[in-house]
Symmetry: C2
Subunit: 350 residues, 2 copies
């Protein structure tokens, strides 16, 4: 868009069910009357109008299958505002989307058939776990040398629902097949960006979106994140290594999730920002008096002195609250070109 | 051997350098005089005579390269007792073996050329990180139907030395290429064992040996392990997921490491025993008055009522201390056939 900016709005955990007949959870006593899924819809319209994003990303638990009479209808209603406003959107699935009339596979198949979506079912010709593993490429400014190159990469992964290994309780995790696909895709994108004309010095930055927090989201204390941690980190009980995979690949600068509705922080760990969106939906647990919210990511291109748009210069974020003024909070820079990582090794005597 | 038993002696962190001229570390004042690498040699002879293992496994930091004049000579001297006693042995490398006159590659190449070794450099035809990734198969009793099948599998992995990713300080980790090799090997071994005649109901159990602790070694408290934790767990600062890979594969019942010399515990996590050996070598940090030690694993085959030897029934362990009586401590059962895993899922509301 004008000004070399690309804006993504993340909507986490809408928990949409049957619309007007589905009540709100965890709102103030004076908000209970008449509160329903339609409040989620109203918030989505408001924030889309206020932010006018270039892409809307729904990071799972878009619908709350267990309370939905017809999963496809619930999903259509949940996503409707993005479609009505003619915005491109991408979605993944969480651990509740498949609890209704559609399986996980069925939910993802429905999503990829919807209007205006950039969602994809899975990469072709690859054996992969889950549904909704794909990547999107954001081209440079039209008319510039980077018009046909991806200056920003986005990865979407299915973080599963529950463990299927009897000895491991709890949530699912990103599997080796998904990590292998990510690694291969990242490597290829990086190679193209730095080797194909006009060749670039550094790979393009990337963002990752999925539903369930990685165990590394537990690494932070209040002193080293921005936002709030009001509940435990509901990650899987074992670590399948996707954080390490991202660090090794090097292009992902920030990973965005949902799942825990009343956590909304971003914290930086070994060069990668780990960010919650905070819960969006009204038929989802929350905290009465603590506004439902959405996360915005704003990606800014660099401009040469001669006025030519280049690759990405910085990635910023903030959140929008569903209060009277759609208050913007916790605005921060997630990444700046040239500020990668940290050096040094800690050796001990072992 | 007689009685359907197979015994493995693990020797961790010998830190061998120049023999007689290399002094002991962390011994009692009255032990200092005349104490050298030769005490390590003497201990190895003693424990080999006492246990008479079927296999000796050296899990890295076999030599302390920085203090070694000639890495090959140091390694020869370190391993010599096993060779002199004509015992088969297998070795991996740690984070100190390469600090002398040989590179990591060079150390592993030297090891695979030594007498009586079952060590291998790396699997053939596979691109893999590190040096010394291989597996060994232990056949059933000769003359029985299982004579030509592997009733016990052993995996050896190179857990690296130090991180090469600038943003990540500290120790190295098991890489995706190694996990992929392990997964493929384990899957193939399990398939053969359960499908080829005489087909078996359950896959054969397996043991894994490497040097650096996985991050999951930090999961235990004194109430749920056997042995001692007297220092921090020096695992890499990120989790590359090898523990999850082992849990998913299902055959590894116990993983054995070294690296932290004054930890010697075993703790069970989601069906896998994670075991330290405790430090063996005298030219290695330790704790004065706390004996150098080695870990024994005893694998027992099952016998039918008609007297035919079957697959593995149980895996036990204990440690031997380098004290006057070569005291045996912390004897425990690591695994029994039919005692796999635990059930149940913990769901929460996210």
């Amino acid at each position: 868009r004008e000004g070399g900016m690309f804006k993504v709005l993340q909507v986490a955990d809408m928990h949409y069910a049957d619309g007007r007949s589905t009540a709100c959870e965890d709102v103030l006593p004076e908000q209970v009357a008449g509160c329903s899924d339609l409040n989620t819809t109203a918030f989505l319209y408001r924030v889309l109008r206020a932010e006018d994003p270039d892409l809307v990303v729904f990071t799972g638990d878009n619908i709350y299958g267990a309370d939905s009479t017809d999963a496809a209808k619930s999903m259509d209603a949940a996503i409707a505002p993005a479609i009505a406003m003619n915005l491109p959107w991408a979605a993944g699935i969480g651990n509740h989307d498949q609890e209704g009339t559609l399986s996980r596979e069925g939910v993802m198949q429905h999503l990829v058939g919807m209007k205006n979506t950039l969602s994809r079912f899975n990469p072709e010709g690859v054996e992969i776990d889950g549904f909704g593993n794909y990547n999107l490429e954001v081209g440079g400014v039209e008319g510039t040398l980077l018009a046909n190159k991806s200056v920003l990469n986005m990865y979407f992964l299915d973080s599963g629902d529950y463990s299927t290994v009897p000895s491991i309780p709890g949530y699912g995790w990103i599997k080796a097949s998904q990590e292998a696909w990510f690694r291969k895709t990242s490597s290829s994108l990086q190679k193209n960006y730095t080797s194909q004309q006009p060749s670039q010095k550094e790979p393009a930055p990337a963002l990752a979106y999925f539903h369930i927090p990685l165990p590394e989201f537990s690494s932070f204390t209040a002193s080293n994140f921005t936002g709030v941690k009001q509940e435990g980190i509901s990650s899987p009980s074992i670590n399948s290594g996707f954080f390490t995979t991202m660090v090794e690949a090097g292009d992902v600068k920030a990973a965005f999730i949902g799942h825990d509705h009343i956590n909304d922080f971003c914290g930086k760990l070994t060069g990668i920002q780990l960010c919650y969106a905070g819960g969006f939906g009204y038929h989802a647990y929350g905290k009465a008096g603590w506004s439902r919210r959405a996360r915005v990511v704003s990606v800014q291109l660099e401009k040469t002195e001669s006025g030519e748009w280049q690759g990405v210069k910085s990635i910023k974020t903030w959140k929008r609250l569903d209060d009277q003024h759609l208050t913007t909070i916790d605005s921060e820079v997630l990444w700046n070109r040239g500020s990668n990582g940290r050096g040094g090794k800690d050796h001990d005597r072992s």
